[in-house]
């Protein structure tokens, strides 16, 4: 009984905390949808929505493709080189746990207009004739941020996909090999279709994660140039803590919340189908 009080204290507190948030959504004196209407009529809101969609989609696609390539690559090293697999997985995963702030500094240095390694390398290879100001150029700012985001988080997907690959039913893979399918054909026709539910789930998680990107944008570009890299969370922060429009910021945050809930709902449906898939495979 004493335990119940002890345990319930904290978790009830955290629940009330989350309950509080809804009440504080709008400053008490206004009610209604005024903030949401402001949003809808603000062209910048749509610009930011488009930026966010582009950012999130690029990150998700790039991370899925790259992670898949790396995971398959590591996996095909074979069972007798287990340690090598471990090393490779660690190496790919390490960026994920580093502080984003530190990595934005590093990428800021790589992207530096005058001395940055990226410009130096590209010029040495004669791919560009003059240095590019990666973060100040409206065309290049967003891809530069995307590259950092993908580099940092792709390892997370690799770990999940490698687990997915390992969980594939061995008999099916052997049967495919016996039927003469190996290497590339086996990968495309057998492995990838079986892995596709995992890939989808991983992409959903990437989407949700990318929707919440903030640190890199705040530190590298401040949403600029000309709002080219302004995404939703950065804007929530700006509205709330630079312009002190708490209500508008919360409204924007709730738009984000609804989008994430929608993605999660899709994810749950997929997951249910995935579990079914797994049991079918097990009984087959």
């Amino acid at each position: 009984v004493g335990l119940a009080v002890f345990t319930y204290g904290p978790s009830a507190l955290s629940l009330t905390l989350s309950g509080f948030k809804w009440d504080l959504l709008n400053p008490p004196r206004w009610v209604g949808s005024a903030n949401y209407q402001t949003l809808i009529h603000d062209p910048l809101f749509w610009k930011i929505a488009a930026n966010t969609a582009g950012f999130v989609a690029s990150v998700a696609v790039l991370e899925a493709v790259l992670a898949l390539a790396i995971a398959v690559w590591i996996q095909q090293l074979g069972t007798h080189r287990q340690w090598l697999k471990g090393v490779a997985r660690t190496a790919v995963f390490l960026p994920y746990i580093t502080p984003m702030v530190a990595m934005t500094l590093v990428f800021g240095w790589l992207y530096d207009g005058d001395q940055g390694l990226l410009n130096q390398a590209l010029m040495a290879l004669h791919l560009i004739s003059a240095p590019i100001a990666w973060l100040q150029d409206p065309h290049w700012a967003m891809p530069s941020v995307i590259a950092l985001e993908v580099w940092k988080n792709v390892g997370y997907n690799v770990v999940l996909l490698m687990a997915g690959l390992q969980a594939l039913p061995e008999p099916v893979l052997e049967a495919a090999t016996l039927d003469g399918a190996s290497g590339w054909p086996r990968l495309v026709k057998v492995v990838l279709p079986m892995l596709s539910p995992t890939v989808l789930l991983v992409s959903m998680m990437t989407l949700i994660h990318a929707l919440q990107a903030f640190d890199a944008i705040y530190l590298l570009t401040q949403g600029g140039p000309q709002h080219a890299t302004a995404v939703v969370v950065f804007w929530v922060f700006q509205q709330a803590f630079a312009f002190y429009k708490a209500g508008l910021a919360s409204a924007l945050a709730y738009v984000l919340f609804v989008v994430i809930m929608a993605i999660t709902a899709v994810q749950w449906r997929l997951r249910r189908r995935w579990v079914l898939h797994e049991t079918e495979a097990a009984s087959a």
């Binding site: 335990l3 978790s11 955290s14 746990i97 502080p99 919360s250 945050a253 984000l256």
Partner: protein
């Protein structure tokens, strides 16, 4: 291409020796390409560390090789720790990350145990409510939580950095799964021997849950150490600010020419502790990721 050639050869019966060499070349090629890809992925780390040991004047004058430079100099680190409040930031980060981790593990283990073992009305509904909090993006809470901190008078104190970090649905979920999967006999025997529920929890259940404790502690420590947005919102003064904010402030302090080598030494300082911790507890950490990502 090479692989389909190999398949063709085995099907034709002959050329088994050739098949083996093709496969060996293929493997070597695969490993080589993989190594190249990993090298590219590690390039930023390499540049970060090399630059951090270079002489600022040389780098700004473009006299250094971007990937390697001799001699190495520790001047940036000296400047970092002698002239800047970096020691303070480091101490703050360590304190906040540790206090958050300890509190989080205590709360999550108790709540998880309660959800697994105690019977009470509305248990399932309450657990679902806890899981639901996992879906609320933290940014939704940013403003209300800040207002709450203001009400409590915690803005710009350690409390604001530490206490909100104690509550997280993921840890509760991990512990509940772990305790549910454990046979209750041992705990029942302890109770018959006269242990109070509290003793059963601390003496029997918790020691059995050490793997979950390690996993969760790693997660929380690393996440807190790296966190930027929340400390940015609730703190203003160097006395309480953490390392990521210190790095950002350091970068903002350069108006004209950015002192990249100094910044890289700061970035290295912020990265090494979590990288080391991850390498030590890698298995536990990856297990946690798989538990959260796949089995949920």
């Amino acid at each position: 291409m090479a692989s389909s050639a190999a398949v063709g050869l085995t099907r034709n019966g002959g050329g088994i020796g050739l098949n083996i060499t093709t496969r060996a070349i293929q493997r070597g090629l695969g490993a080589g390409l993989l190594a190249a890809a990993l090298a590219v992925m590690w390039l930023p780390f390499w540049v970060m560390i090399v630059t951090s040991f270079q002489d600022t004047a040389h780098v700004l004058a473009g006299q250094t090789h971007p990937l390697w430079a001799w001699p190495l100099s520790g001047a940036n680190y000296q400047q970092l720790f002698n002239q800047l409040p970096m020691v303070r930031y480091l101490a703050n980060s360590s304190l906040v990350a540790m206090a958050t981790t300890v509190g989080h593990v205590i709360v999550a283990s108790m709540a998880g145990y309660a959800f697994a073992r105690l019977r009470f009305a509305g248990r399932e509904a309450l657990f679902f409510a806890v899981l639901l909090t996992l879906m609320i993006p933290p940014q939704v809470n940013l403003v209300p939580l800040f207002l709450l901190m203001k009400q409590l008078g915690w803005v710009d104190t350690y409390w604001a950095l530490i206490v909100p970090g104690w509550f997280g649905g993921f840890g509760v979920f991990l512990f509940r799964q772990w305790f549910t999967g454990f046979p209750p006999e041992l705990e029942e025997a302890a109770r018959l021997d006269g242990c109070s529920p509290w003793q059963v929890f601390t003496l029997i259940a918790l020691p059995l849950a050490v793997p979950v404790v390690v996993t969760l502690a790693l997660f929380v420590f690393i996440a807190t150490w790296n966190s930027f947005t929340w400390p940015l919102v609730v703190t203003f003064s160097d006395e309480v600010r953490t390392l990521p904010l210190g790095l950002a402030a350091l970068k903002d302090s350069f108006r004209e020419a950015i002192n990249w080598p100094l910044l890289m030494s700061a970035a290295t300082t912020a990265t090494l502790p979590v990288a080391g911790l991850f390498l030590l507890g890698q298995r536990a950490f990856l297990d946690g990721i798989l538990a959260g990502g796949v089995k949920e």
